[in-house]
């Protein structure tokens, strides 16, 4: 296919480099330097998409980030799909494959479009809410089909072959936008010596200068761009980031930048010849000062059928002609409210195509550009506007009429002009999105007919975004902003920089024109679109205000104005103006909605960076991890730790299931000896003369008498009396203790101790340090534990000299160790702590000697079953932040008579904590021994009541016990301790109701004899 709209000379494309690409299955050609949009226009492609709600044919409207229609799905392969790419921002490369996101079976013939055509009266704003309201339970079903019909891009179904990364920067001055203001600002700040980052979202830096008719110092403006960029590139204190969108502006001058590094070159970074390099980067910049030079977006006019392909922004028409040598049509009608847009007609005519007329809403425009147009023989129709576009799949004519903007009516005879392109301009909206991200509201400028950024601390806006539309003033404003920003950062030597000479033009003032009146009312006229991406019409806004939505935020939500990836770039001001007219208010009274990050879509790859796969979250391994792997352990995540879950064996060629392995491991501990890697338990070293006093304040139980060599179990509450952690603490010396915490609670407990020490009791001399990783912990437990350990230590392990809850320094397998006689299984147990780097040696020695005792490694699942058989709690499983030590029946661990009012004590006498019907910790024995109750299942006292049942408690832990040969559970039940022996019911979702008896939570060895042997 030929590039019928390409002109022979001019533009910034390289005609010697022909690039092949595919759009909706059709092959086309473009040139190096094209965007996907300019290449499509060069090839005369009219329809690029179907609209979101009405499925109307849509063409390219704009040339930059504000494009609402040409949102495409990019990618040649299943694993390289990128949704939501604006064709206007996508550099063309050889082999590019893109599709429209909407349209089925294709954009030319769309089945859904009958909805759009009939849809006028049938799809008012709020259509989906109103139509699919009832029954509520069906919404999920409706939504699925509505979404399929709507379609806004598809997520890739295969893993991304590329890598992405994050970079963190600090700079003095972050300049956003490399148009005339941004370049001047960067130059001024950089020459002053400030560290500068300059980013720009386009393929090339230069902004409006790249398609400008203006000269700088008498030569083409692009020359100055080249010189300036060359100087900036040569400065060590400047980082230039082209193809980089500042997509979010956050608190305290934190700016996120999305840099596309290879996306303009090929489908993947590898295909672009950058193997091992990232495809995109997210820069996280903490800026001293931000110079916002984001420029303006031209506002389209709102008139009937203004969404037909062939309706474009005036500035975009100039941009395509001057920058890409593409004239997007043959016959142009320009409808404008200002002088500046006249250049579109001049550019069009100079490109050798026909300008049918310029339709100007003002009575007597006579600025320099207006005169130039008249002198060139272009017909200028004043006091008028295009009120309606004619055509089916492309504009074929423009209906033009005189209009009275005060009374909002059409006043004259309607003329129909034959044309294929209607360019419009309703003025220029400063791109205030980024400044709004900070929460600052933009300010209405009446002279400008637009919002300018509100005051943001550490931000200076410059150029177009600050309301400077004259080139000379824009350059000066940029230089001033750059200098000021540098000065703010202490570069006092900042000086004026020499700026190139510009030509001043006489301009006639613009008029306020947003929605153009039509002969018929907005509701009866053909649709007048305000937000093309979300299919919001002027009539829709009118209906919304009539239905009582007065706040612009409500209008936005009711109509979807400014939603989604568009973020109201073209439509917001027009929408507000229409709402203001309907409500008979001024635009500033109606106000703006909030623009949110991201300014344009950012790929998930860039957001995620390297934080995926293996690097998603840190993994923590114990010193014995390799042994566990080699011995076939299945692992479980506990916080960031990888802990052995169970050690399945292969019996007769068949690998044990979890339950088979756990039953075997449990019996081994109860009847012989087992070993657990308990290294992940949190360990906090506590020292200082007030360490003992401190422990007495943070634990519920007593610590005054604990002698060196002894260990005690402690409960830790919050000041509301609820249990937060538990563990043993050993007295290593009079001023020295070792606290253990739950695996998951380690970091939180350390911070908790610091909190109380630093904020409440700074007078106490006590110091905390985490030693979790320094020590490896091996629990040897079972009736044969003493026999086994005695083979490896010279220490006297006799039950009289080394009692339960004692600890000693000893040597195990010739390694210095601490042995703790504590038990989490209810069996005789020794917890051996050695320096982590000796752990594997000791562990292996234990297995050498343990063979004859059938020493069995066990994992967390067996540990859970064994402790539950003994009624020992796990904080966070059997408790949930609403359980007191009293509820757990642990009165023995509460020192009510301790002198200091320890944390949690006072709350235990609040009326709520004294209630008799609190949920109390009990055991449950299912009537059917084969039943293992579901953890989390609700408990009721009457199994036959109707739903909703009166819930009286829930199951917290539940297992099958190989020792007891039946299922058992731990639970919390209202007033449970007074209900021993009673039957409760556990109804399941499938209608089954289990029966269980409330019993003591200690199922094995209730007298605790086994751990004392």
């Amino acid at each position: 296919m030929t590039q019928s709209n390409r002109i022979d000379a001019g533009g910034r494309v390289d005609r010697s480099q022909v690039l092949e690409f595919t759009f909706n299955g059709q092959r086309y050609q473009g040139f190096k330097g094209d965007t996907l949009a300019s290449a499509l226009l060069a090839n005369g492609v009219n329809i690029v998409n179907r609209s979101f709600k009405y499925s109307r044919a849509r063409g390219i409207v704009a040339a930059g980030a504000e494009e609402p229609n040409a949102v495409v799905q990019l990618g040649a392969r299943a694993d390289t799909q990128v949704p939501n790419v604006r064709a206007t921002q996508q550099g063309l490369y050889n082999g590019l494959v893109a599709r429209s996101t909407n349209g089925w079976p294709n954009v030319q013939r769309d089945v859904m479009s009958w909805v759009g055509r009939l849809g006028g009266g049938f799809m008012p704003p709020g259509f989906y809410y109103k139509t699919f309201m009832a029954p509520a339970s069906m919404w999920m079903t409706y939504e699925k089909y509505i979404r399929m019909g709507a379609g806004l891009g598809r997520a890739p179904t295969e893993s991304d072959p590329d890598i992405y990364d994050h970079m963190h920067h600090h700079c003095d001055v972050m300049v956003i936008g490399a148009g005339p203001a941004g370049l001047a600002a960067a130059l001024a700040a950089a020459r002053a010596g400030a560290r500068v980052i300059l980013c720009d979202e386009q393929e090339e830096m230069g902004g409006s200068l790249l398609d400008s008719r203006e000269t700088l110092d008498g030569v083409a403006a692009t020359r100055w761009v080249e010189q300036t960029l060359k100087e900036l590139a040569g400065l060590a204190n400047v980082t230039l980031l082209p193809r980089t969108t500042a997509n979010g502006y956050h608190d305290h001058n934190f700016v996120t930048l999305h840099e596309r590094r290879t996306e303009h070159l090929a489908d993947t970074a590898r295909a672009a010849g950058f193997s091992g390099q990232s495809r995109a980067r997210l820069h996280r910049v903490r800026a001293g000062q931000v110079v916002l030079a984001s420029g303006t977006h031209e506002r389209p006019l709102v008139y009937a059928n203004n969404d037909l392909p062939g309706n474009m922004l005036a500035g975009a028409v100039s941009n395509y002609i001057r920058r890409y040598a593409v004239v997007p049509g043959n016959r142009l009608v320009l409808s404008t409210s200002n002088d500046h847009a006249y250049r579109a007609a001049l550019d069009w005519q100079e490109a050798g195509r026909k300008v049918v007329a310029i339709v100007d809403a003002r009575a007597n425009p006579d600025g320099d550009l207006v005169r130039q147009a008249r002198d060139s023989g272009i017909r200028v129709i004043t006091n008028s506007a295009v009120i309606e576009a004619r055509g089916h799949q492309r504009v074929t004519g423009a209906r033009v009429s005189a209009v009275d903007l005060e009374r909002f009516v059409v006043t004259g005879k309607v003329d129909e002009l034959e044309c294929d392109t209607i360019a419009t301009s309703g003025g220029y909206s400063p791109v205030v999105h980024l400044s709004s991200h900070t929460g600052t509201r933009p300010q209405w400028d009446e002279a400008l007919l637009g919002f300018v950024p509100g005051k943001v601390k550490g931000m200076i806006s410059a150029g177009g975004v600050a309301g400077q539309f004259d080139l000379g003033e824009t350059l000066a404003d940029g230089a001033r902003a750059g200098r000021q920003a540098a000065q703010e950062r202490g570069f006092s030597g900042a000086q004026d920089i020499a700026l190139p000479a510009t030509r001043t033009r006489r301009e006639s003032p613009a008029c306020a024109l947003y929605q153009v009146p039509h002969e018929k009312s907005a509701l009866r006229a053909p649709k007048q679109f305000v937000d093309l991406q979300n299919d919001v019409t002027a009539a829709g806004i009118e209906v919304a205000t009539r239905e009582g939505f007065e706040s612009i935020e409500h209008v936005k939500r009711y109509t979807a104005l400014g939603f989604g990836t568009d973020q109201g770039k073209l439509g917001n001001i027009n929408g507000m103006a229409i709402a203001a007219r309907c409500l008979d208010r001024s635009i500033p009274e109606v106000g703006t909605t909030v623009f949110r990050p991201n300014y344009t879509p950012v790929t998930f790859g860039a957001i995620v960076g390297r934080h995926c796969g293996e690097l998603f979250d840190p993994k923590r391994y114990t010193a014995l991890h390799q042994w566990h792997v080699e011995n076939g352990a299945e692992f479980e995540d506990v916080g960031q730790w990888k802990r052995p879950w169970y050690f399945p064996r292969t019996v007769n060629g068949k690998k044990e299931t979890l339950h088979e392995a756990v039953n075997r491991e449990c019996l081994a501990v109860r009847e012989g000896v087992g070993i657990l890697d308990a290294s992940t338990l949190g360990k906090i070293d506590i020292q200082g003369p007030d360490a003992r006093e401190f422990l007495g304040r943070v634990y519920t139980n007593k610590w005054a008498q604990l002698a060196p060599g002894r260990v005690r179990y402690g409960l830790m509450c919050k000041d509301d009396g609820m249990l937060m952690d538990d563990g043993t603490t050993s007295c290593l010396g009079d001023n020295h203790f070792l606290m253990t915490t739950t695996t998951g609670g380690a970091a939180g407990v350390l911070e908790w101790l610091e909190l109380w020490h630093q904020t409440e009791w700074p007078e106490l001399q006590v110091y905390f340090n985490s030693v979790t990783d320094h020590w490896a912990t091996m629990t040897v437990t079972g009736p044969d534990a003493r026999k086994l350990l005695s083979e490896l230590t010279d220490m006297d392990l006799d039950r009289e000299s080394f009692k339960f809850m004692d600890w000693r320094d000893a040597t195990v397998a010739e390694v210095p160790a601490r042995i703790f006689r504590i038990s989490f299984t209810g069996e005789l147990a020794f917890e051996i702590n050695v320096q982590a780097n000796y752990a594997l040696h000791v562990w292996k020695k234990l297995f050498e000697h343990g063979e004859k005792y059938n020493l069995t490694p066990y994992g967390t699942e067996t540990m859970h079953v064994l402790r539950a058989e003994k009624g020992l709690i796990i904080v966070g499983q059997d408790t949930d932040g609403s359980v007191t030590p009293e509820d757990l029946g642990m009165q023995w661990a509460i020192g009510y008579d301790k002198p200091f009012p320890w944390i949690g004590k006072r709350a235990l006498s609040r009326p709520d904590t004294l209630r008799g019907d609190r949920k109390q910790f009990v055991g449950l024995k299912p009537k059917d021994p084969n039943v293992v109750l579901e953890e989390g299942a609700q408990i009721v006292f009457d199994g036959k009541q109707s739903i909703p049942m009166d819930m009286k408690g829930h199951v917290t832990s539940s297992y099958y016990s190989a020792s007891l040969k039946h299922g058992f559970a731990l639970a919390v039940v209202m007033g449970g301790r007074d209900r021993m022996g009673q039957t409760v019911y556990i109804p399941m979702t499938d209608g089954t109701v289990y029966e269980a008896e409330i019993v003591s939570p200690v199922f094995i060895d209730p007298k605790g004899e086994r751990q004392h042997v």
Binding site: H252, T593, K905
Partner: protein, 129 residues
Amino acid sequence: MFHIFCPYCQEHREEEEFHARGQAHLMRPADPDNTSDEEWGDYLFFRNNPRGIHHEMWVHSVGCRKFFNITRNTVTYDILETYPMGEQPTITADSEKLRKEQGVQTADGGWQTVGAQPESKALNEETSS
């Protein structure tokens, strides 16, 4: 994301290094056993939620592990000062109110709500807490 000046490290660090720990200057009643249930309930459960100046406790959790206080504007998110435990803020809602009455511009204060006009006049007033 906040940029927080740690008064102990004496430098600005990224918010990721810190944890917010709620309202600052909460005093645990000195004699809990002789504190009424209501007072104890207030201490445990009730917190200020001011629109404007607020004092918060933060901890430099992956830095120096020290707790400290922040005076922050909950509307603009400006951190007006940070100061060590045991010290009192120099900027408070009252001092800011005074500055306003005297016509002194506060650090980017001013109301900002969703919608150009506040739904009610009360929304536009500074809370005094």
